[in-house]
Amino acid sequence: MSAHRTPRRTVRLNPTRIGIYTLLILFALLFLIPVYVLVVSSLKTFAEVQDLSRLWSPPTGLHLESFRAAWWGIPEKGLRGLSQNLLNSVYLTVPATILSSMLGSLNGYILSKWRFRGANVLFPLMLFGMFIPYQSILIPLTQTLAAIHLGGTIWGLILVHVVYGIPITTLIFRNYYAEVPTDLVEAARIDGANILGVYWRVLFPLSVPGFVVVIIWQFTNIWNEFLFAVSILQKPDVQPITVALRNLAGSQIQEWNMIMAGTLIAAVPTLLIYIIMGRYFIRGLLAGSVKG
């Protein structure tokens, strides 16, 4: 988003502008309907969500019982709480994000500053890996993880996310490092730095914005991911929150206040990141289309 823009002209309100604002507000309200549903339902008591005549009405008060139920479960109805699953998501997402960003940074550095023969073929082959439907590698993946004793473990899923995160993290860092002037690299080499020295002394210290973009991107993606998690982690006590949530919503229960509270809990971490660091989030988003 370019900073070089002509100064804002003051625009008077005329029918066209009123029309534009009306449309924008209308769309904003439509976009917020699911948020309304989430918040309103999660603040209701069980009796209130059962009252179908008031399905869309605000709650009668701030009832937090649904959040208690979503967190600790309702044992007498056989419903598990999501607290352990939220922790599992953290155990999964944080290491996988860090490891895959570091790997991506190294790859991006090599591919942008040390173009070796064959790199032009390797890179697109690598990128293809981020577009494939993961169904097409799922059967060998589950077999392999079981064979190396990582089946059904969070460690196994971390490995999976690190591996399939290579293309996107490499891509973002490669494009990011391409902007770093080669002069800086040359200067460091004249000072006697080797490959890793150049990375460590020149590029890594400049990498913060790149890391922020990649970390946000990977964190959001891994937190939100479902297919790998549901195929690899079968035991309820190791499943991340997306899988536990879908199991909760998929069972024939009527506790919609609990489900909606659980949905909010699952959504909050990535939403917070988005609201606080939206700028970097958008950069990752645009990078995902190969050329931003």
């Binding site: 953290v90 155990y91 994000t97 079981a146 004793h149």
Partner: protein, 437 residues
């Protein structure tokens, strides 16, 4: 520069934090089972991991009662109750498959007796036969031959049944029937006559809740049996009855006709919501397994007072059975405790503790009748005297793959009621399953 250093330190801290977090993850690593030694006294101590999808209601209470019986006998064994909720057992089956493939089986697991166990696990060589438990405890004459047959494959018995459920039961609202002057139908001609009368009176004749498609398959197996009788029905699962033949066609046509008498919102309901329609008098009848009785009782109704029960149309004298059973996987970590568990499951004491709570009848014939309610007693009588045939929808009659294919065919059939297409699909499913040629 300050901010750069700050970020650098921050990154390092993040990395450290991530490694720490990773390090304190719960490890679910499968530990190697200790080799069972002959000197070890049987089931003296240690652990026992029991895997099931009984997480709530009467099923969970029944399971706990079984645990109590076990703990009284083996007080030093710690029971690990590994349950997986959701999807009428489909979630649990997926967990089990992964654990079995990874060589991490529980000591014993719940499984529908019959082809579900045999085709999935026995043929794959993952189970130990339990014939010796039956012999050691002299159970072979305590269980009906029909049950032993369903449990057997290549001369061995492969699981211990804890209960029997009946699938072909028509439940009806007694008040609605009395108000409209109708009596429970015994065959499909009577059924449609009753249904027309009820429909004219503004009552939904038959409640169906096939949100999870198995309820439609469940209704279909009753229709199959009701139109062709027990011998032809059994032949469907051995390839002796032709899926392209007139009997199956007639069953499908009857099913399509029935769909004209069910509640319009059947695809949105679950089986218990359909039962609720009957309880509320909005619908007159529903065809469901006898766990429906447990549901009616849980909402305060009494058998023979608010609701009545008869065999589904045309199936008097036949009993479609399904059974929950427990098996002994190869490589169980606490094999001796697993055997002790199976011995409890199959004992009279165990079955009489479990079944009154679960709302099913014992698989043994020598149980204490006084523990069971009026419906269950009638089911026990029928079980002892009727022709026993296996349930399709609940894994006794056909392999899981075959059941899945029939469920898929039913998904389409319920939506379009195309008899010819459904018959072709079912004939093909039998071929794919390797039973028909």
């Amino acid at each position: 520069m300050v901010s750069k250093r700050f970020w650098y330190v921050g990154m390092a801290a993040l990395i450290m934090a991530s490694l720490l977090l990773a390090a304190c993850q719960p490890t679910a690593a499968p530990t190697q089972p200790p080799a069972p030694t002959a000197t070890q006294p049987p089931a003296a101590a240690g652990k026992l991991e029991i895997f099931s999808w009984w997480t709530a209601g009467g099923e969970a209470e029944g399971l706990n009662a079984l645990y109590k019986v076990f703990s009284a006998k083996y007080p030093n064994v710690e029971i690990i109750n590994a349950t997986v909720a959701g999807g009428a057992g489909s979630a649990a089956k997926a967990v089990l498959a992964t654990r079995m493939q990874a060589g991490d089986p529980p000591d014993s697991f719940q499984v529908h007796a019959g082809h579900e166990l045999i085709d999935s696990w026995v043929k794959a060589g993952k189970m130990e036969p339990v014939t010796f438990i039956f012999k050691d405890n002299n159970w072979l004459d305590k269980y009906p031959k029909g049950v032993i047959d369903i449990l057997s494959y290549e001369g061995e018995i492969w699981s211990v049944p804890v209960n029997i459920h009946r699938s072909n039961v028509l439940w009806y609202n007694k008040k609605v029937f009395a108000d409209n002057g109708v009596t429970p139908p015994t065959n499909f001609d009577e059924f449609f006559a009753v249904a027309d009368k009820l429909k004219a009176a503004g009552v939904t004749p038959l409640a169906l809740g096939d949100n999870g498609i198995w309820a439609a398959t469940h209704l279909f197996e009753s229709v199959l049996l009701g139109t062709m009788g027990p011998d032809k029905y059994r032949g469907l699962w051995t390839g002796e009855t032709d899926w392209n033949g007139p009997e199956v066609k007639s069953a499908l046509e009857t099913f399509a006709k029935i769909m004209g008498y069910v509640n319009e919102d059947h695809a949105a309901l679950s089986w218990d919501q359909a039962a609720q329609l009957v309880a509320d008098g909005k619908a007159a009848m529903t065809i469901m397994g006898d766990w429906a009785e447990g549901y009616f009782k849980s909402i305060g109704q009494t058998p023979d007072v608010e609701f009545g029960y008869v065999p589904s149309p045309g199936t008097k004298g036949s009993f479609i059975m399904l059974s929950d059973s427990f098996g002994l996987p190869k490589g169980a970590k606490n094999r001796d405790n697993g055997i002790a568990w199976l011995t409890v499951c199959g004992s009279k004491e165990g079955q009489d503790a479990f079944n009154p709570l679960k709302g099913s009848i014992p698989a043994r014939t020598d149980a204490d009748r006084s523990l069971y309610d009026v419906y269950l007693q009638s089911a026990m009588d029928d079980f002892a005297s009727n022709q026993i045939v296996p349930s399709l929808a609940h894994g006794a009659a056909a392999s899981e793959g075959w059941v899945t294919a029939i469920n898929d065919a039913m998904t389409l059939f319920v939506a379009n009621l195309d008899v010819a297409a459904a018959q072709t699909a079912m004939a093909q499913a039998c071929k794919t399953a390797g039973v028909c040629k």
